[in-house]
């Protein structure tokens, strides 16, 4: 267990518009995660493009996923997107993701704690809000799903982005913040109190 693992969280513009910044932060603070960087900013196209940087293999996988979904619903992807090539579809989906994250100002943050990546993903809930469990941020605040989003030719409104792996977190933190913007040199009181509890044993 790495006690100082870091993860990137971005409250996307759908969350900002709905006034859910405080709600998201509160949930991360409640479990005892430590906030070490924060900026309200407008992401550039270039940042969005790098943030969703994907190998051809991954884009193809995203595209194939959509094609499979469409097959189940007996919808012709060519009619909808003008293509049934998984890679081309993958590129379209990436385009939507970049569009959503650059649509308006977002709140980018870095949170630190033991297994922070996994803990934040758990609190965020399933990427598809409809599938997300009640009690998770997405489960409590969004009903959106891929069928509706695809119909409206957009990415799902899922309130926040959270790094999926420690490796991805490292890449994303470097993309959104410079080293001098990270303020990890302090202790939150929850930790302080817990340390005291054990040292007095």
């Amino acid at each position: 267990m790495k006690t100082d693992q870091k993860t990137l969280v971005v409250v996307k513009h759908d969350g900002v518009m709905r006034g859910l910044i405080g709600e998201v932060m509160k949930r991360l603070e409640n479990v005892g995660l430590k906030l070490i960087a924060l900026e309200f900013l407008q992401a550039t196209e270039d940042m969005g493009d790098k943030h969703y940087a994907s190998s051809k293999e991954n884009l193809r996988r995203f595209g194939q996923h959509t094609i499979d979904e469409y097959k189940k619903k007996k919808i012709d992807p060519v009619k909808k997107f003008g293509t049934k090539d998984p890679l081309e579809l993958g590129k379209i989906i990436k385009r939507w993701n970049v569009e959503l994250i650059t649509r308006g100002p977002v709140l980018a943050m870095v949170w630190e704690g033991p297994d922070a990546v996994e803990v934040v993903r758990k609190l965020a809930g399933d990427t598809k809000p409809k599938e997300a469990a009640p009690g998770t941020i997405r489960g409590d605040f969004s009903w959106d799903n891929y069928a509706v989003a695809n119909e409206e030719l957009r990415s799902v409104y899922n309130i926040l982005h959270a790094s999926a792996t420690p490796k991805e977190a490292e890449f994303e933190i470097n993309l959104w913040f410079s080293k001098d913007e990270i303020c990890s040199d302090y202790e939150i009181y929850v930790y302080k109190a817990m340390h005291k509890l054990f040292s007095s044993k």
């Binding site: 006034g19 910044i21 405080g22 603070e29 070490i36 309200f40 900013l41 303020c183 929850v190």
Partner: protein
């Protein structure tokens, strides 16, 4: 500005939520480590009038009792007390990061002041941010050796002061990002 105590006590989300619920719109925010230079601009302790003002306020906090004031600070000279308080405030503000944030809305300055509550947390209105989450007093702060009391948050008291403070704390990194809609009042404005 959310001061270090709101951050180490994990109250940032709750405080942001209060502002959002009021329909205030976030315009700018950054987490930073305050520098001595910023603190000395924010609290101009070299200005005799400012320091003496702090000394006078301290006397008020001790119920106008000069003897108790002298006992607490080791002096009854207002300017010296101002300097002692300044040094303590500097220590407080650089003890952990702060979050500087700018909010926009109808009568934003007045409403934020109201929402934050009066300066001394123990006497702040119940339901205000300080009244809900803080409990310090100047006398307790002096007694426990901290000198300056913790009150979670600073809010500008006029538009002019807000502009001055944005320059101090954000400097060239300030960017007004208010050009977006909030769903709460999409049909009002």
């Amino acid at each position: 500005m959310l001061k270090p105590d709101s951050i180490v006590r994990s109250l940032v989300g709750k405080i942001f939520q209060r502002f959002e619920e009021q329909g205030l719109k976030l315009v700018a925010a950054r987490m930073i480590k305050a520098t001595e230079k910023q603190v000395s601009k924010h609290y101009p302790y070299k200005d005799k009038k400012w320091s003496e003002g702090i000394g006078k306020k301290s006397l008020e906090n001790f119920g106008g009792d000069i003897k108790r004031l002298k006992e607490a600070y080791g002096t009854d000279n207002f300017e010296e007390i101002g300097h002692i308080v300044y040094r303590a405030m500097k220590g407080y503000l650089i003890s952990a990061p702060v979050i500087i944030n700018v909010w926009e809305g109808n009568h934003a300055v007045k409403r934020v002041r109201h929402l934050v509550g009066s300066t001394v947390p123990t006497f702040a209105e119940v339901g205000s941010i300080r009244g809900s989450f803080a409990f310090d007093t100047p006398v307790l702060a002096v007694k426990s050796g901290r000198i300056t009391f913790k009150n979670l948050i600073h809010a500008s008291d006029s538009v002019e002061e807000a502009e001055r403070e944005i320059r101090i704390w954000f400097g060239s990194k300030y960017k007004d990002l208010s050009n977006y809609e909030r769903v709460d009042y999409v049909d009002i404005l």
